[in-house]
Every structure is written in C-alpha cells, then in structure tokens.
C-alpha cells in the first residue's frame, strides 16, 4: 500500500486565509489570462491552449506560474466571486497587480478573503505531482499532499 505523502513548502502569503483551508489543487505550468481564459459563469478554463482546458477552477487552489493577457482579470475574478465560481486560492511564482486586483478588492470592500500565495520556482515545481494543499491563517507554510 502506498503511503500518503505530504511535503511542507515555504512560501509567501500575499493574502492569508482567515482559517485553515484544505483544497483540491489544480496545477499548471501555463500562465493564464482570466479574460478569454476562464468562463466566469461555470468556472471552467476556456483557453484551448492551456493545459487545463475545460477543467473547473471553482473552489480549488488554482496554481499557474503567473498571469498573462488582458487586464480584464480583475473584473472576471470579482464576477466569479459573486457567482461563487471563483477558485478558493491562487498559487503563483509571481503575482502581478492584474491577478491581485480581484483578491484585494474582495478583501477591502467585501471582507471576503481570497488567499494568494507565492512560491519560488523550485518549490512551485514540487506541486506538479500534488493533488491537495493546506493553507494556514498564520500565513507561513503550505502543505501539499500527493493524495
């Protein structure tokens, strides 16, 4: 029988969750544009060039290396938050203000916490075989699980 394996990754919480969150992980090595890349109505990736095409990001920890494309991302993420199709957390190597806009507005205007985490390139690569992650309100580490 296989052992359930867990790794602890050091990371930077740009926005920490209010309480511990256990989330299904959707990992990708492709950057994404939320505008034209994600359907806000059903939470599915609609960019046919993306490795997770047609998969849902709703309520998952969505890992992509960095944002690209349209600055409509902020508006799309806000709409996803309203429709409850948004990812539960975002994990990046780098988060530019385009990706951070939605989570920042949700935090300050709607008291809705939308964790955003940055990992180094090396730590990020370790997520590729992982299925689940745990995020903590203390905002220091990230636990990743193979099962």
């Amino acid at each position: 029988m296989e052992e359930k394996t867990m790794v602890e990754l050091s990371c930077k919480y740009i926005i920490a969750p209010k309480k511990t969150l256990q989330l299904e992980l959707l990992f990708s090595n492709d950057p994404i544009s939320f505008f034209g890349g994600v359907n806000s109505k059903n939470g599915k990736i609609e960019d046919h060039r993306h490795s997770s095409y047609q998969e849902s990001i709703t309520n998952k920890a969505f890992a992509f290396p960095f944002g690209k494309g349209s600055s409509g991302a902020g508006l799309v993420l806000m709409e996803m938050a309203r429709l409850q199709t948004a990812p539960a957390a975002i994990i990046n190597i780098r988060t530019d203000p385009v990706i951070l806009t939605g989570p920042l507005i949700c935090k300050h205007f709607y008291d809705q916490f939308f964790p955003v985490i940055n990992l180094t390139r090396e730590e990020y690569a370790k997520l590729s075989i992982m299925k689940k992650v745990a995020l903590f309100a203390t905002g220091e580490i990230l636990e990743a699980f193979e099962k």
């Binding site: 544009s33 600055s71 508006l75 806000m78 709409e79 935090k107």
Partner: protein, 421 residues
C-alpha cells in the same frame, strides 16, 4: 511605507470615505510589493468599462455612492458595445443596460468619455517618463514601451482606485531600475528584410516574443526603424495577449532603448533567444486556424481600435469594390477617429462599399449565435488569440489588405508570405 501628511489624512478618512478605502487598498498593494512610498500619477486609463458581469457594475455604483471622484484626468477604455448601434450588433439587451449603467457611474466619477482601447491614437497620450496608472493590457504595453511613460499592469477596478487617490505605490515599472531589460530576443538569419514589407510579420514576431518572455522585461533587436505606429500598436496588443508583457524595448526604436546598452542600463543580456522562420510559422498556426475555409462570415477589424492610418490602408485595399453580400466587414474605432473620417468624407465612401463602422465597443463581443457566424477573419493578433474562447470559432489571420480582399471575395484569400517558404 513612508507617508506624507496629506496621505496620512487620506488614510485616516479626513477627506472622505471613498478616498480612504481607495488608499487602504493601494497601501495594501504597496506593502505586498515592498514599496517605500507613494508616487503621484499624472493620469489614469479606466478599463472597468467592458461589461463582464454585474459585480463590476455594482462596484462602480458603490464608489459613486461613497462620493468618489477621480483626482487626475481619467479616460475610459472601450466598452462592450456601440452605445448607439447595439441593435445592429444584435448583442443582448443586458449588455446595453449594463453598459449604460457603467457609463453613468464612470461619468459620475468624472471620467473623460473617450471609450477607446487605443487612447494614444485619440489624443490621450502621457508624456515620456510620466508616472501613470493604466489598465487595458495593450495600452499598458504601448505607453510603457513606445511612449516611455511608467505604469504597472493595473487591472479593473484597481485603476479606478488609483485615479481616485491620484497616486500609486512606487514599485515595479514605476521604478527606473525595474525597467531594465533582462534578456534579448534577436532575429535569426532566416528572417529576411523582405518580410518586413508585410504588416502581419510584426504581429507574428510579437506573438512569439510574448510566449518566450512571459511577464518579464526584455528587449528585441534588428527590427526596421521605420515601423509604423499601427504595427507598434499591434505588437503591444499581441505581446500582452500571448504573454503578460507590460514593457518591451525595441533596440534603436523605443525611447528607453536607443541603444542596446541603454535598454540593459549598462549591463549585458543575461539570456538571448533567437526567433526564426519556424517561430513565425508556429505563431501563425496559433493565430490562423479556421474550421471552415470555403466561406467568410465576418471580417472584424479594430482590435485595438482602428486608426486613421488604418482606415486609409483599408480604403486603398478595397479599391472601390463592394464587400461581398455574404460577408460582414465591421470596423471598431474611437469616437475621435470616427469624427475625423466622417468629416473627411471617408466614412461615406467606405459605407457605400458596405463597410460598417462602430464606435465605443469591442470587436471580441460578437453575437455569434444570432448572426450564425462560423468564420472570422482579422488583422489583429489580440483578436485572434482570444477569438476561440470568446466566440467558439477559430479565426483566420491576415493583413488589412488580405482582410479587404477576402471581404470583397467572400472567402479567405491571402498573399503567400515569405516566412512560409
């Protein structure tokens, strides 16, 4: 962050609730990027205009109710529809009502009603070195790279808060050092001078550049110096679609890269990547892959908004011939450019050939089902990047001349390009 007395008062709410909450968000943003202080901005470009759902509409109305006003000149980006011709576009009524609400709230905030995604071709261009806060990915790339103004990639509705507060944290591309190129994209020997006679080569190079560079600041060399403003526009828009480019340097062309040394701020490239003929072929395969080749339903131009120079090219390419009865030739432009071509008589001439010109709206918002559209053609790398996810159809990509000829013939035709040999 070090704050001025005035900024402390803004954060304390002494100048009202709206600017206080705007400052709180911007302060938090600054903390995340370890900014030491705020920098005042000269202008703002508002991209919270294209309707993507009720959240943004309600948010802008909320700002108005809080008593918010822009404290710097703020121009509006394109919205989803032509506000006067939405019925012709056959877009849902929901788009029209939402857009009018967006118009009302943004004008109440004090926005300039420019309604264009190419404000730099409609009289709204920042100065070199000026600190600004712009949203709309092509505008960000253009004003940073071609003009040399300084903005980060701000997104809607964060830019509204920057416009209200009149300042942003001093980080990222506001800072001289961060504008330094890190790597160089160069052109292989098989990219020959004759290729630059075709406008689409710039878009293909830009698509490849965006894929290579991602979200970093790099430079590109060996481009001809006489590159047109519209090709620079399409390069900005395309790089910011295939990649997350906020600033690119073209050696010998863009203001912060008059020499290689200048682009790298005295250092040397850490990495060099060569674009070859094969890269152009790969880029074309991404942008040009129609499902059906026999018929052409719509030629969609003006992503970003069409310029006066592009209208001249289009008219020349049409050679007085009418658009085919089974094909639409739609052009999206700004109210400014529309006024100029109307007053010059060009709009009348183009209309009589069957060209339809829309203002305010976005070429990517098309009522595919109501029009039963199956085939799109465009000269825009940005349009072709997003076409499938926005419409469900893969596009055909070509120059304005290819587009005009195809619209007349009612099917996709194009000149064989040297990079396909």
């Amino acid at each position: 962050m070090r704050l001025t007395d005035y900024e402390k008062k803004l954060l304390d709410g002494k100048h009202g609730k709206a600017i206080q909450i705007a400052m709180r968000v911007l302060y938090d943003l600054g903390k995340n990027y370890e900014a030491d202080y705020f920098v005042e901005i000269a202008s703002c470009h508002d991209d919270s205009t294209c309707f993507m759902g009720e959240a943004q509409v309600a948010f802008a109305e909320h700002l108005v109710r809080l008593g918010a006003r822009f404290s710097v000149p703020t121009t509006t980006n394109a919205c989803a529809i032509d506000m006067n011709r939405f019925d012709r576009q056959k877009l849902d009524l929901e788009f029209m009502t939402a857009t009018r609400r967006i118009e009302a709230s943004h004008l109440a905030l004090g926005a300039i009603a420019s309604w264009t995604c190419a404000p730099y071709q409609a009289g709204f261009t920042p100065g070199f070195g000026q600190q600004v806060a712009y949203a709309e990915s092509n505008v960000i790339a253009f004003v940073n790279s071609i003009v040399g103004a300084r903005t980060n990639r701000y997104a809607g509705p964060l830019e509204l808060l920057a416009g209200i507060a009149g300042r942003v944290p001093y980080f990222g591309l506001h800072v001289t050092e961060n504008r330094k190129a890190q790597g160089l994209v160069t052109l292989g020997k098989d990219i020959t001078p004759d290729m630059f006679e075709h406008d689409d080569v710039y878009t293909l190079l830009a698509y490849a550049y965006g894929e290579i560079v991602g979200d970093r600041v790099w430079a590109m060399d060996k481009l001809p110096k006489n590159i047109s403003m519209d090709n620079l526009k399409h390069m900005s828009a395309t790089m910011a679609s295939s990649g997350g480019i906020a600033l690119f340097h073209l050696v010998g062309i863009t203001p912060e890269a008059q020499s290689l040394e200048m682009a790298f701020q005295g250092e040397t490239p850490r990495e060099v990547v060569t674009i070859t003929r094969k890269s152009l072929q790969k880029a074309r395969a991404q942008l040009c892959n129609p499902d059906i080749e026999e018929s052409l339903d719509i030629v969609s131009l003006g992503c970003p908004h069409f310029s006066c120079a592009e209208f001249l090219l289009l008219e020349k390419a049409l050679k007085g011939k009418k658009v085919h009865g089974n094909t639409l030739l739609w052009v999206f432009t700004s109210r400014t450019t529309y006024g100029l071509i109307r007053d010059s008589g060009q709009l009348h001439r183009l209309s009589s050939l069957g060209v339809e010109v829309f203002v305010d709206g976005c070429a990517l918002e098309h009522a595919t089902e109501k029009w039963n559209t199956r085939t799109y053609m465009s000269n825009s790398g940005k349009f072709c990047t997003y076409c499938f996810s926005k419409t469900g159809c893969h596009p055909f990509f070509g120059t304005i001349t290819d587009c005009a000829k195809s619209a007349v013939q009612g099917r996709m035709i194009w000149k064989k390009k040297p990079w396909l040999n």
